[in-house]
């Protein structure tokens, strides 16, 4: 609880993801699922019916044979800052941006599963529970108590491991720190990335590593022209990689396994 007399210094948590460092190992995806009690895939699920709050796509320069070069791009909820597309469409306030953190939150228990927000999201970062969640017997012992399991028929998505943010704040309170300062914490994917390709931090903190990386020359954001002001910044020294930020070009119709 914040004391109204003390102005709260609002944080703007965001990420700077170095695509050139991403080996596409998938550790972030698994760590995310572990942290957020995301169920394993139902037998009938595929890459269009699954739930992957963070998903690593394989992108290429469109070249052929020797000219072909690929890279891996982790895509999670971009935590849009400006007129967040999904927030405005939700009919019953199940989506909401926390001004104190800039995190776009999804309230599964308020969601009626109309999926309007999914249609609204240009990053396909929202996932619907098509099946009742199911785990092998006993695996519920390994649940993270800071995150509530969802039920069938609702939408869910990345919330920057909000449970960890709660825990960090609680810890700070226990240590008697003032609650007007943003707390430092690390989402599961950033913690799990073996190459430290994902840098997470408060973008308002100009001196911070993440903010600096986000300001860098090689940094870009997906579909920036849509003016959604995403808080996920990508970094690549390769020019062709930076071009993935733009609108799609008609495909070459290859039978390709994209990530």
């Amino acid at each position: 609880m914040t004391n109204p007399n003390k102005p709260v210094k609002a944080a703007r948590y965001g990420m700077a993801i170095d695509i050139d460092r991403c080996t596409g190992c998938g550790a972030c995806m698994v760590a995310c699922a572990v942290e957020n009690n995301v169920p394993p895939a139902h037998a009938g699920a595929n890459d269009r019916k699954g739930i992957t709050w963070i998903r690593v796509y394989k992108v290429d320069n469109g070249g052929d044979g020797d000219g072909r070069r690929s890279a891996f791009v982790p895509v999670l909820c971009q935590q849009c800052g400006n007129e967040t597309p999904c927030v405005h469409v939700c009919p019953q306030q199940a989506v909401d941006v926390d001004p104190a953190t800039g995190i776009v939150g999804q309230m599964p228990e308020r969601c009626l599963g109309c999926r309007y927000c999914m249609a609204a999201c240009p990053y396909h970062a929202r996932y619907f529970n098509w099946w009742d969640p199911a785990w092998p017997a006993g695996m519920e012992k390994t649940f993270n108590p800071d995150v509530a399991p969802r039920m069938r028929g609702v939408v869910e998505k990345c919330n920057f491991c909000h449970g960890r943010w709660h825990a960090a704040r609680q810890q700070a309170t226990a240590e008697g720190k003032p609650d007007t300062e943003p707390v430092a914490y690390l989402p599961a994917c950033a913690e799990a990335c073996p190459t430290q390709a994902i840098s997470f931090g408060d973008l308002n903190d100009e001196a911070g590593v993440t903010a600096a990386a986000a300001r860098g020359r090689d940094s870009f954001r997906l579909l920036e022209k849509l003016d959604t002001d995403p808080k996920i910044h990508y970094i690549s020294k390769r020019e062709w990689v930076r071009r993935i930020a733009d609108a799609p070009r008609p495909g070459d119709g290859k039978e390709s396994r994209r990530g």
Binding site: H88, L112, G153
Partner: protein
Amino acid sequence: MANAMSDQADKELISRGLKRCSTPRFVLWMLPWVALLIFGLYAAGLCLVKGLNQTNMDNRFAFGLWIFLDLTVIALGAGAFFTGFLVYILKLRELRAVINSAVVIGLVCYSGAVAVLMVDVGQPLRAWFTFWYPNVHSMLTEVTFCITCYLTVLAIEYLPIVLKNRKLREVPAFLVFEFQLHKLTYVLAGVGTFLSFFHQGSLGGLYGVLRGRPFAFREGFFVWPSIFFLFIISAAAVGPSFILLTTCLVQKISRKRLVRVEVLRLLGRISGLMLAVYVLAKTVDTLIWINRTSPERGFPASQYYSWNPFGTWILFAEIVLFGLVPALVLLTPRLRARTGWLVAAAAMACGGVALNRFVMTVQTLALPTLSFDRFLSYAPSWQETGTFLAVVAYGVLVYSFSFRYFRLFPDERELQAAVPPTDTREADPILAGRY
């Protein structure tokens, strides 16, 4: 014996002076639709009990057949409010001949759409949250509120038609009630028009506001994107056409003259007029979108039409083939005078609006937004189709029932004497279950 008695009881329900087919024949006609309804309800039940994994929708195709058909059906149902508007507000008396029928059609379309929406959401038990914790910025909230309210209005408008039934009139209380309701008609028509005006628009707004979907996104006036208004006009344009179609269909099936042909022509003319306005507005909007809105958001409009099968042909079909052409036909008196042309044009108009709704819903979702995702295809599962067929069956049942026991066409009695329409083609035996 008992059969004869029930037959007798049944006859007593039918308004005086109206000829209707025998009870067994009526039952025979209803049976297949009942069967279809039951099948559909089973499909819908599966989706409710087992969850939406029964459908072929997925995270990328979050909306599918159902939303497309809801939008279409509601547009077609717009005839109810628009005719009401014409009759009671603009005092076009001639259209009284179809107003009752229009109300029934409207009721059927709207209640059907709402029913399907209930299946479409993942947690129907929480649907009422929208009323309790509404997000006023959401187009969907606007839609939900207006549609439910308007559905109530339609129900109230439907009531007097029911109460006029021969048997029910015997209850004096009902008579009084019906009389009171009549005083309300004008108010209801006004309210209905107002509500419909909004939700028809918001249905377009649903997609027009999707800033993340440049294909659908439109800038707008005040809070409403331009599509908002396009949807209203197109709905108003296609509403009368649909009434025209249904009326002709009923005439054909029941082999009776129900309305004067002038009424149909008038409907056609109005429809054509609105359609013309719509086509004009749509063209302007499309041009602005292609040259400004879309490019400004980093999406050259050309690429939308470079993903097969959605080539530029769809744009042409939507605006010219199923927009301009029927509009011109309906506006040309000589063509309008020919029933064949009239009906064909009306059908085309309906098709055009349906196509527009299809483009707005399905194509919007099929087109990729990220440079590294694919163009996606989607085909509804049998559960999805079944659920929709349930609505069709429900519609036919309700309409047939109303047609048999209530007076949907006030002029029918006078027209009894006159010769049936000059069409002698033998309709399909089941359809021809002469009422």
